[in-house]
């Protein structure tokens, strides 16, 4: 008595409710509403406040510049609020 959802059945999942996939597999960026953060790298002083405060680790720092990973950014706007240099703006998708 099971549907054909393509999901694993009870004999196929590990014991005890252990996660068998990384949370990265779920692209939670599609939860985002109307606004998304956009970085103006000309204004950015690489203080990394946004990187520290992002609750979803969606701000990337590659060693030279900041960027946003829209696969996981939920558009909360904390990075815009915390940026001391107005280098991040929330803009309509």
């Amino acid at each position: 008595m099971s549907g054909s959802s393509g999901k694993l059945g009870w004999t196929g999942i590990p014991l005890g409710g252990v996660s068998w996939r990384l949370s990265e597999d779920l692209k939670t960026g599609d939860w985002r509403g109307e606004l998304k953060p956009v970085v103006d790298n000309a204004k950015c002083k690489e203080c990394l406040f946004c990187w520290v405060f992002c609750p979803d680790a969606a701000v990337r720092w590659d060693g030279t510049k900041i960027s946003i990973n829209y696969d996981y950014c939920k558009g909360c706007g904390i990075c815009e609020k915390e940026c001391p240099f107005d280098a991040i703006a929330m803009v309509k998708e």
């Binding site: 999901k7 694993l8 059945g9 009870w10 999942i13 590990p14 014991l15 005890g16 409710g17 252990v18 996660s19 068998w20 996939r21 990384l22």
Partner: protein, 406 residues
């Protein structure tokens, strides 16, 4: 194997502590509550005297006790706790977590009535509250069975196909505080029997790793599982419970080879059931009194029998069906109420089981012994008299009865 038996004078609680000392547990986290207190008092003496190297965690509540046990078991330890009544009720939430995380913690539950009115004496209302928590439940009739069940409990819960927590149950005061000669095994024999806790291997992201929290092989225990996967996890628990039946029988057999002691097949213990016309089913200390009454009745030519249920979870339906074949009237002794239900919890399981029986006996429920009310042989004789009337008249006057209430 023949072994020189060593006998110790132990009450039920001390028998738990003694067995625990021999089982080489890594961690005990417990909070004292009557009538369980002797267990942790006695065991903390073993710890203080350096007779065991167990980590003893004193906690602020039973909820915390079970939480600490879950943590200890999650990193691969062999874990024990003990409680009773209100303490077990306070653990309720974490008991489900322990079972769903598939952690084979062993817990002694000294059966005591739930409040209110507040009461410290024996009945099964506390553990019946956990009957659907996916814990194995082994009932004990006397301190000897307490000792034997404790040693088997670790093996049962830790079996690769089971991986479920296990309760050892004993009636408050009647068993917990009653001294008996208990035949004990040597430390080495117990150590050999229980072995070390083995960990099942699980497959996570292409790697086969032992099921434990380990920085070398990180994994997440206890994540959210909503309508898409929760159901599958619960289905796994049902499978584990079904597997436990076979394991309980096997471990019981292996233990009987060492000791010569048996409790039926490890699931139920039928007594003088071969040609029984009427029989009682019960759990815990009352089985001993009932056996005495059966013997008296048999001397008078009355074909009376008894089925003692040792394993309440998983419920031994098939075994009960076989044991009561041919019986005309079956009485169920329930040491807990189920207010507003069709009858007590044991009655419900037994009567439901008998639906599959072509030639069903009459089944009558006798709720008894609530809050430690005594169940002497005279009352048990009255119950058999009532069953005799059912056999004679071919009708049940009253399905739900209260024995010993004014």
């Amino acid at each position: 194997m023949s072994l020189q038996p060593k006998v110790e004078g132990l009450n039920g609680d001390e028998a738990i502590a003694y067995a625990l000392k021999q089982c080489n547990v890594d961690l005990v986290a417990a909070y004292p509550i009557t009538p369980q207190t002797i267990i942790v008092e006695k065991f903390s003496e073993y710890v203080a005297n350096g007779e065991v190297d167990t980590e003893f965690v004193t906690v602020e509540s039973e909820h915390s006790a079970m939480s600490a046990c879950i943590g200890g078991a999650a990193v691969g330890g062999r874990i024990f706790t003990a409680t009773a009544s209100a303490g077990l009720a306070l653990m309720h939430e974490m008991n489900y977590v322990a079972a769903s995380h598939r952690l084979p913690i062993v817990m002694a539950v000294v059966n005591r009535a739930l409040s209110g009115p507040i009461n410290i004496h024996a009945d099964h209302s506390d553990s019946m509250g956990e009957r659907d928590a996916s814990w194995i439940q082994l009932f004990s009739e006397n301190p000897q069975e307490v000792y034997d069940n404790m040693i088997q409990a670790f093996r049962v819960g830790e079996a690769p196909t089971v991986q479920l927590p296990c309760m050892v149950l004993l009636d408050g005061f009647v068993v917990s505080h009653t001294l008996q000669d208990v035949a004990v095994l040597s430390d080495d024999v117990v150590k050999g029997f229980v072995g070390r806790r083995g960990l099942p291997l699980i497959n996570v992201m292409g790697q086969t790793v032992p099921y434990k929290l380990d920085v070398e092989h990180p994994l997440t225990m206890g994540p959210l599982a909503l309508y898409d996967y929760y159901f599958e996890h619960k289905r796994q628990q049902e499978e584990a419970m079904m597997n436990a039946k076979e394991v309980i029988v096997k471990v019981h057999d292996e233990y009987a080879q060492l000791t010569g002691r048996r409790v039926g097949d490890g699931l139920i213990h039928p007594y003088r059931m071969e040609d029984a016309e009427m029989a009682l089913i019960c759990m815990g200390s009352t089985a001993g009194t009932t056996r005495t009454v059966v013997n008296e009745l048999r001397e008078k030519g009355v074909r009376a029998g008894l089925v003692k249920v040792r394993t309440f979870r998983p419920f031994p339906a098939r075994e009960i069906l076989d044991a009561v074949a041919g019986v005309k009237a079956l009485g169920v002794l329930d040491r807990s109420g189920a207010y507003g239900a069709v009858g007590g919890p044991l009655f419900n399981e037994v009567r439901s089981t008998l639906y599959d029986c072509a030639d069903r006996p009459f089944v009558v429920d006798y709720v008894y012994g609530l809050g430690g009310r005594d169940m002497p042989p005279t009352l048990i004789r009255e119950v058999y008299d009532d069953l005799a009337r059912v056999v004679k008249t071919g009708a049940v006057q009253q399905t739900l009865n209260f024995v010993g209430v004014r």
